[in-house]
């Protein structure tokens, strides 16, 4: 411990000491209160500018429009193409991340030896540390040409490789949270399974997985929320042409460029739109929608995760 004599303060008037304690208490409380302030200001700034936006564009037209053309004069602003592209990215990335992430979690929690785990876990964590703009670069420069080589009819910018990359990016999130949930399953449950003559496979799939299902689920929701809010991968590799989802030809949506909600926000701010136009304010409306979606999903995931924590503590 430090060498500061603690009795130094005891000889002082109690008055000063109490005041000092109050001061620190207040300062630390201010730090914690700042987080609430951040949330409030996110909501306030987004809402104020979104209101500004909805005075120019009718909310009904915005939420039901199927065409998105961003330009300084007479923009056509309907959010559905952006929503549909975001959904496509989320679904495809979930198809990539959920099986791989869950399997990795099962392996790490049930099968891996200590030595194996001490290598694989940090390696997966390092995946989580790669910046998303780098993942976008991987998708654009390496993954798309690979996919083209195996015979897919992809354009240079396409949603398929962007979504695959988003999927790879969120694997560590699925695997680490799911693994935590599986590790939290008490060993007595496993022993009971073995005592009944179950194999390791049966214990993993019929005891551990069901017992930790709420934790696993919450990891899925969290990962999906991350996929919805992911920006740089889709901006770099997905292109910037907003396209409405065409149910008659789903593959065309994947193989061509598309624009997600986040990508549209980036486009609104990086192209030369002047400050006051509806196109510029549209990003606040999209941002508010995005914030609402992801915040709800995170809240949901917290709630579900809280359930399994209570059960086994």
């Amino acid at each position: 411990m430090s060498n500061t004599p603690i009795d130094a303060d005891l000889t002082r008037s109690a008055h000063g000491r109490i005041a000092k304690e109050r001061l620190y208490h207040g300062l630390l409380f201010a730090c914690a209160a700042l987080t609430v302030l951040v949330t409030v200001s996110i909501i306030a700034t987004l809402a104020i500018d979104a209101v500004d936006f909805f005075q120019r564009v009718a909310p009904v037209a915005f939420f039901t429009g199927t065409e998105w053309v961003l330009r300084s004069e007479n923009p056509i602003l309907g959010i559905l193409p952006l929503v549909s592209a975001t959904l496509v990215v989320t679904i495809v990335s979930a198809l990539v991340a959920i099986p791989i992430g869950t399997a990795a979690a099962v392996y790490l929690s049930e099968y891996a030896s200590d030595r194996m785990r001490s290598v694989l876990k940090p390696a997966l964590e390092i995946l989580a540390g790669i910046p998303t703009v780098v993942y976008g670069f991987f998708a654009l420069v390496y993954l798309t040409p690979w996919l083209q080589q195996i015979g897919l009819d992809l354009s240079l910018f396409n949603l398929l490789s962007a979504s695959i990359m988003v999927g790879i990016m969120i694997i560590p999130m699925v695997s680490s949270i799911s693994e935590d949930a599986m590790s939290a399953v008490p060993d007595s449950l496993r022993q009971a399974g073995y005592g009944l003559g179950a194999t390791k496979f049966e214990v993993s799939t019929k005891i551990v997985l069901p017992a930790s299902i709420s934790g696993i689920f919450s990891s899925y929701i969290l990962a999906l929320s991350r996929a919805i809010g992911e920006t740089m991968i889709v901006v770099v590799a997905g292109g910037s042409r907003a396209r409405m989802f065409d149910p008659s030809n789903p593959l065309a949506n994947l193989f061509n460029s598309g624009q997600t909600m986040t990508a549209a926000m980036v486009q609104a701010v990086t192209t030369d739109l002047s400050g006051g136009t509806a196109g510029y304010y549209s990003m606040f409306a999209i941002g508010l929608t995005l914030f609402a979606i992801t915040f709800t999903m995170n809240l949901l995931s917290n709630r579900i995760a809280a359930r399994y924590r209570e059960e086994y503590q």
């Binding site: 000092k20 304690e21 200001s41 791989i100 780098v134 073995y194 496979f201 809010g229 995005l290 995170n298």
Partner: protein, 545 residues
């Protein structure tokens, strides 16, 4: 956590007759999935490295020389450690990685002294801070003052020392800077940068060796080596400043590590690994020079690191973006670390847990967890609205970018600091209270020292995230390309990921497979080093718990 007893699995679980095939297939599938994800990304990394270094353009003989002089001895030693001396293996990798990480850090410090604060500015800053701290301590000792007077002293003295009253009273810092005679730049750096580090080294050695003499020797040696730079640096072609930074930032941690390994006496032979590689590199350079072999035409070379962006791919560099990233990280750390740790301390140590206030605190905690999941692009919008549209700051300056990213990592810092503080056993707090310590004294002297490694780990990981963030920078209007490095926290800047994104928009093959790859490699090296350091730190302290 698998079963508590592995043999149970073997007895009842992996029984051949029941379902060996299915179980094995399942296990293989799980392992395969894990490896697939890792494998894919490592393949991408290999591609990036290949594009940035272009190994095929080198003479085959050049590669032969490298293999014989550097790779073979390194592989041999690594094999030896793996087979016969695992502790030495760990020492070997740390001893190799530490100088590299320290050199990167030294680069960052060098950038700070070159662009942000001149050696004289640093001198003035340190002296003014020391005087202010001394004045506050003296006042605290001599006068049993009331709370109001003390609060006044604590705010006024540092203000006078560092900021002054604009237009009326110059600060102590400005007074020092305008003094007619200032020591030479290198001397002031020696006195105010190297000397404190030397004092810290001496203090640490004195503590771990329990000998005053060893402490004095270690501290003195540090000063002497740094001071040698005044004479020796010009001979090696370095400036005295670079010498002082290199010796203090690189030599000190390496020296401390070597001392620690020698003192513990475990795995000492691991220290041979970096030495062998260094000798191998030297021999290789000599051989290549004599035989006149041509190496690969790398994109990622010294030129790339020290020049600005250019339309010609071969001339393009990343230097201003590097400087911008360093400056932004300073703002992020200064903004997010104290607030984050303060909030975590409040939530863990002070916050009420019962009644209405308790449920409000619970709401705050849920809110923090949720903020960590808000998309970064939304934080960019927040920064734009808050700092640019409301506070009226110019878009695209360092402070705006840094504060925006600081808000983004704040929840991550809070959550990890909370975990670290939770891990401090309650008995220690009770012991402190039992001795009559106040709550703040307990936090300052008992909780924080124990939790600091964990807090630092979390903060390094969060700062790693901050370096790689791009979307918020786009939203607050950070410039794609800056040709002149920023020289204050209020000038326009670009950052490494922003620069990479700008290059990704230039659809030329040389940019995609050369410049862009080199930039990505620089960013990744910095990040992997930071994350690796954090993970090592965590593993070390987890084992010691």
């Amino acid at each position: 956590m698998a079963t508590a007893d592995e043999s149970t699995g073997a007895w009842f679980g992996a029984d051949g007759q029941v379902s060996q095939v299915r179980g094995l297939l399942f296990k293989a599938a799980c392992l395969g999935a894990t490896l697939l994800a890792l494998f894919l990304v490592f393949v991408f990394l290999a591609y990036v490295a290949t594009d940035a270094i272009e190994p095929l353009t080198a003479d085959p003989a050049w590669w032969g020389a490298v293999a014989v002089t550097v790779l073979l001895p390194a592989l041999g030693l690594a094999g030896y450690y793996y087979r016969y001396d695992p502790p030495a293996g760990e020492v070997a990798y740390t001893a190799l990685g530490l100088p590299i990480a320290a050199t990167l850090l030294a680069g960052g410090v060098g950038i700070v002294f070159r662009h942000i604060v001149s050696p004289h500015g640093w001198l003035a800053l340190v002296v003014a801070t020391a005087v202010a701290a001394g004045a506050i301590a003296l006042h605290d000792r001599r006068r049993d003052a009331g709370a109001l007077e003390r609060a006044a002293v604590v705010t006024v003295v540092p203000l006078l020392a560092l900021v002054g009253v604009p237009g009326l009273v110059p600060s102590l810092r400005e007074l020092i800077l305008s003094a007619p005679v200032l020591p030479m730049a290198s001397l002031s750096l020696l006195g105010t940068f190297a000397a404190p580090i030397a004092a810290a080294v001496g203090w640490r050695i004195r503590r771990v060796r329990k000998s005053d003499r060893a402490g004095v020797i270690a501290g003195g040696a540090t000063v002497v080596v740094a001071a040698l730079g005044l004479v020796a640096a010009p001979l090696v072609g370095l400036s005295a400043t670079s010498w002082i930074v290199l010796t203090t930032v690189v030599a000190v941690p390496v020296g401390l590590y070597v001392e620690q390994v020698l003192r513990r006496g475990d795995g000492v032979s691991g220290l041979a690994f970096p030495v062998a590689i260094a000798i191998g590199v030297a021999v290789c350079a000599a051989v290549v020079g004599v035989a006149d072999l041509s190496g690969p035409t790398v994109w990622l070379d010294w030129e790339f690191l020290t020049t600005a962006h250019n339309r010609t791919p071969r001339e393009a560099g990343i230097y201003p973006a590097l400087v911008g990233s360093v400056m932004m990280i300073i703002v992020v750390a200064v903004a997010a670390f104290p607030v984050g740790v303060g909030a975590a301390i409040y939530l863990e140590e002070y916050a009420p847990t019962e009644g209405l206030p308790g449920s409000i605190v619970e709401l705050i905690e849920i809110n923090v967890a949720n903020l960590a999941g808000v998309p970064s692009v939304v934080y960019g919008l927040l920064g734009l609205a808050l700092f640019v549209n409301t506070a009226g700051l110019r878009p695209g300056i360092v402070v705006v970018g840094g504060l925006t990213v600081g808000l983004l990592i704040l929840p991550i810092v809070i959550v990890s600091a909370q975990e670290a503080i939770q891990a401090v056993p309650d008995s220690q707090r009770q012991a402190a209270y039992g001795m009559g310590a106040t709550r703040w004294q307990t936090v300052r002297t008992v909780v924080l020292p124990r939790a600091m490694p964990g807090i630092l780990t979390g903060t390094i990981l969060a700062l790693g995230r901050a370096i790689g963030e791009t979307a918020p920078l786009l939203m607050v209007g950070v410039a794609a390309v800056v040709r002149i490095s920023p020289n204050s926290f209020f000038s326009l800047f670009s950052a490494m990921p922003r620069q990479i994104f700008a290059w990704a928009r230039l659809a030329k093959p040389e940019f995609y497979h050369g410049v862009l790859a080199a930039g990505v490699l620089v960013l990744l090296v910095v990040l992997l080093m930071m994350n690796g350091t954090a993970i090592l730190l965590r593993n070390k302290y987890q084992r010691h718990e």
